[in-house]
């Protein structure tokens, strides 16, 4: 029983991790908290639904397409809204509020297209259960966790072992020095936005078959945000670990404390954390510069 619960927590946690990574990547590259990041998950869940349930595309083929849609959406936000604001020197708070406005535009735009009802996927990543001794293991949870971990590993390899990835990190760490060394900082920021969007959309498409797809699932981004803060905001491994931890805390909290208050536990934890240890577990760099 406990084993299955822990696995479920890790599965939902890896979804949080992917969105939290999106927040973190964008924050590192531009110093901005882009709340619209959560809506990439909404788009991922709903586009995935249309591909799989309406058009009958196999999940494995739909998944990369969904990530592509997320990348394009996130890139468009960066190009059409955020970059003009950066160029005009608009105060940071205005940019954050603009991203909150984008949440309304995307989620309710999605409501216009897909309606308000909860949509079930006809095919998920995997289904069925396996019994190992006393443990009952849900294959779907295993698959979600596995895909989540593979994506995180891929991101790590990309950032550390490719030329582009190193350029991305350089542009985030010191934009001026990076541009002096011939790195196109604006291009790197666009690529970061695209990566973040792809990860967010992947999170949505992983999560939705487990529950349902609807216009308001971007709401989970606030928990992913808690995850990013828990791990140390701006810290990439921190976002990964933070997501998995939030998944476990939420799952265990809803079983052993109270299911009505499971969200309150997560958000209460966020408040306590902001006050007590703002640098998170692994130490974020946000707190020194902010």
């Amino acid at each position: 029983m406990l084993g299955a619960t822990l696995l479920g927590g890790l599965a939902i946690g890896s979804v949080y991790s992917l969105i939290a990574l999106g927040f973190t990547l964008i924050f590192r590259a531009t110093g901005l908290i882009n709340f619209a990041q959560g809506e990439m998950a909404t788009l991922g869940a709903l586009v995935g639904y249309s591909l799989v349930s309406d058009l009958g595309v196999p999940f494995a083929a739909a998944f990369p397409l969904v990530m592509l849609v997320g990348a394009v959406a996130s890139l468009s936000i960066d190009r059409l809204v955020l970059r003009p604001m950066r160029r005009a020197g608009v105060p940071e708070v205005n940019m954050v509020i603009a991203t909150v406005g984008l949440i309304l535009v995307i989620s309710h735009g999605a409501k216009l297209i897909w309606g308000a009802q909860a949509l079930s996927y006809t095919e998920g990543l995997a289904s069925g259960i396996v019994r190992v001794g006393h443990f009952v293991i849900s294959l779907q949870n295993v698959a979600i966790l596995a895909v989540g971990l593979v994506l995180m590993l891929a991101l790590h390899l990309f950032l550390h072992h490719t030329r582009t990835g190193r350029g991305l990190r350089a542009a985030a760490t010191d934009p001026l020095m990076a541009s002096l060394s011939g790195i196109d900082v604006n291009l790197m920021r666009s690529m970061t936005a695209a990566c973040a969007g792809a990860l967010g959309a992947a999170a949505g498409a992983l999560l939705a078959p487990m529950y349902y797809a609807s216009f308001d699932i971007g709401y989970i981004a606030f928990k992913a945000f808690c995850a990013a803060v828990l791990g140390g905001f701006g810290n990439i491994p921190g976002a990964m670990i933070g997501g998995l931890l939030i998944g476990e805390i939420e799952t265990l909290g809803s079983i052993y404390i109270s299911s009505e208050y499971k969200d309150a536990i997560v958000y209460g934890l966020l408040i306590v954390l902001l006050l007590a240890r703002p640098s998170g577990i692994l130490g974020g760099r946000a707190w020194r510069s902010a």
């Binding site: 940071e92 509020i97 909150v100």
Partner: protein
């Protein structure tokens, strides 16, 4: 000086026109404006926190709700007269604000996140404390507002009550913003380090601003329950907090006037779009994005620019500059 007299005269004329509304407007207009003015009262509170003190709160609806439930419970279950219930609502929301103000320890965007989390937790309490709030089904049976024996059940009378409360709130906010408190807050907003170096107690002033802003929201909550005679957790969600921020930034975050303009304009516009459903929210979001991109000063900022550019305003400005030059 001339400008101040001119603006004060304009204000009195606006209030008189607004107060005469029940004499000439049909009921639906009165209802529409009652709601708009209640939101204006809510957004004025947010202006103290976000505009004066520079702390963007994404949990403002929580205090709206605290005020609403306090007033609703006191007037239904304990027969407390409406004015006293409203004061209690202000006190309850202020107390909530005091609890939240521990978050002033974090700055900027992190304050927004802490308040967002606070708002979500409070809303969960509204949903789950069924014995007190009635839970998701809502709180019903709130008696009509009365000033002791004088009933204000009619739409027109209730509108006048809302207007009177709003004028009081606005006037005291303008007074506060013009005095030592307002100057200190502006200084903190522009440059915390400089503020600290001239001996301004950052934490104290920020806490005072948050508590005052939350008390204002509590009053708005009491006015809302008296208006609808109903309260439910859905009225106090994150979406409502975001709506309040939208109204403020569209109107202009920098001045109390912007809060009024934004709340009235946005609630009139969105009430006409209500039949559009989700599309209304999309337009809402687009307005936020466009306002942030092209109108950082909001409608009030735009009006001020136009006024400066006009021959009248230009002359006043030149006179003022000359005056400053000789002083």
């Amino acid at each position: 000086m001339a400008e101040r007299i001119a603006s004060r005269t304009t204000m009195v004329v606006v209030i008189l026109i607004a107060a005469a509304l029940p004499l000439y407007a049909p009921t639906w207009v009165i209802t529409l404006f009652s709601r708009a003015l209640i939101f204006a009262s809510l957004v004025l509170g947010l202006q103290i926190i976000a505009g004066q003190a520079g702390q963007i709160s994404l949990g403002h609806a929580a205090f709206f709700g605290l005020g609403a439930y306090t007033a609703a419970i006191l007037s239904r279950d304990y027969g407390v007269p409406f004015p006293l219930a409203m004061l209690a609502a202000a006190a309850a929301a202020a107390a909530g604000g005091l609890v939240m103000s521990v978050a002033v320890r974090v700055r900027g965007v992190y304050f927004a996140i802490a308040t967002l989390a606070f708002g979500i937790v409070v809303n969960l309490l509204f949903v789950n404390l069924v014995d007190i709030t009635g839970g998701a089904r809502g709180f019903t049976g709130i008696p009509a507002a009365a000033l002791w024996s004088f009933s204000i059940e009619s739409q027109g009378r209730y509108y006048l009550l809302v207007l009177a409360v709003l004028v009081l709130q606005y006037a005291s906010l303008v007074r506060m913003a013009g005095g030592r408190f307002g100057r200190a807050l502006r200084c903190i907003r522009e440059n915390e380090l400089a503020a600290r170096s001239v001996g301004i107690d950052l934490v104290r002033y920020k806490i005072q601003a948050i508590v005052a802003g939350c008390a204002w929201a509590g009053v708005a909550g009491a006015l809302m329950t008296g208006f609808l005679r109903f309260a439910s957790p859905e009225m106090f969600t994150l979406l409502q907090s975001i709506d309040a921020v939208t109204m403020l930034v569209v109107g202009g975050i920098a001045s109390p006037l912007g809060a009024l303009v934004g709340a009235v304009v946005m609630s009139v516009v969105t009430s006409n779009m209500r039949s559009l459903g989700a599309l209304a929210t999309v337009v809402d979001g687009l307005l936020i994005v466009l306002a942030m991109m092209y109108l950082p000063g909001g409608l009030a900022g735009l009006a001020r620019q136009l006024w400066r550019r006009s021959s009248w305003g230009g002359r006043h400005d030149r006179e003022r500059q000359l005056g400053e030059g000789t002083a």
